[in-house]
Amino acid sequence: MRIEVRRGNYYEDFVEGRRFFHHWGRTFTLQDTLTFSTLTQQHNPLYFNEEYARYLGYQGVPVNPLLVFATVLGLTVEDLSEAGGPFLGVDDLRFGVPVYPGDTVYAVSEVVSRRESRSRPGWGIVEWRTVGFNQRGEVVVQYRRRNLARMRGAEGQ
């Protein structure tokens, strides 16, 4: 028996107010954030010099907030946007408590609004609010995101 696996949700699935508890979570290591910060040229030693981070009052090198955001976003993709189309925007992205190596982040989202696209039949625009939090239940990042979402009937287009 062959099982054709499909992943992702469609416009019709994003009823306003629907909540998603996203899969997996992810634990960060010091190497994750050093690699990310140096690869993307974040030229503030806070993000790659342990001694300097302590000098600024941190417990050690914090996980770069852009990596925290990208990871929380990544955790939401299968539920929210994998079956969809281009990313339209992010607003009100606020960072909470710092994330340190050894911390684990999780993500949840809620559908804020949706509407059908006027210019692109078979597609709609969905907005979600996502909250990322750590193993102690402290918010590490939150934001609103908009994406094009495909309608079921338009699959394959």
């Binding site: 992943r7 997996w24 992810r26 994750d32 690699t35 990310f36 690869l39 993307t40 040229q41 974040q42 030229h43 503030n44 030693p45 806070l46 300097y52 000098y55 600024l56 009052g57 907030p65 852009l66 990596l67 955001f69 990208a70 990871t71 976003l73 990544g74 955790l75 993709v77 299968e78 946007s81 994998e82 189309g85 281009p86 990313f87 339209l88 925007g89 992010v90 607003d91 009100d92 992205l93 606020r94 960072f95 710092p98 934001y143 287009q157």
Partner: protein
């Protein structure tokens, strides 16, 4: 002399300044794959070329560089000028990606300072700016407003100047007086 640059403390920023950052960055397949996959992003448009050829009637010729990769590179290009002396990132808003980025595109960034204001601590202030990323053909690929907390020169410059000199090897201590 100092551990960080001396021209980007809170006192140096004023609304209306536009910084045209010195360096560009050609986006590699490594950038996109490493960050997309290490952040557990499952959207195939970033790592399946065959899928991209069929998606949206094939309007995209190639795998798309993931938005957070483009954003991080543009913020990185701006960071030595804007946030080398930052203490914390507070907020982003108005983030959009007006044109797609593909492997091999070269990104440049500029930043306009929008607002400077007091923080709830005396040794730092808050800067809000708009970072714009463009690629080699001039098209805008990233726009976003960034708000961060940054050291005040009045409280930090002297200590920042001593950071390295206080750690000099014994035989180089004389350099600290120079």
């Amino acid at each position: 002399m100092a551990i960080t640059g001396g021209g980007n403390y809170f006192e140096d920023f004023q609304p209306g300044q536009v910084y045209v950052h010195a360096r560009g960055r050609t986006v590699s397949e490594l950038d996109n794959y490493l960050i997309t996959l290490m952040t557990l992003n499952t959207a195939q448009s970033h790592f399946n070329r065959d899928y991209m050829a069929r998606m949206l009637e094939g309007v995209y010729p190639e795998r798309l560089v993931m938005g957070a990769v483009t954003m991080s590179i543009c913020i990185g290009l701006s960071s030595e000028d804007l946030s080398e002396n930052a203490i914390a990132d507070l907020e982003y808003t108005g983030i959009s990606f007006p044109a797609p980025v593909f492997h091999g595109d070269t990104l440049y960034a500029e930043t306009e300072v929008l607002e400077v204001r007091e923080a709830d601590r005396p040794d730092a202030g808050i800067v809000r700016c708009r970072v714009t990323g463009r690629k080699q053909d001039g098209s805008t690929v990233f726009v976003g407003e960034r708000t961060f907390l940054v050291k005040r020169r009045s409280h930090w410059q002297e200590r920042d100047g001593q950071f390295l000199s206080s750690r000099l090897p014994r035989e180089l201590r004389g350099w600290a007086e120079g």
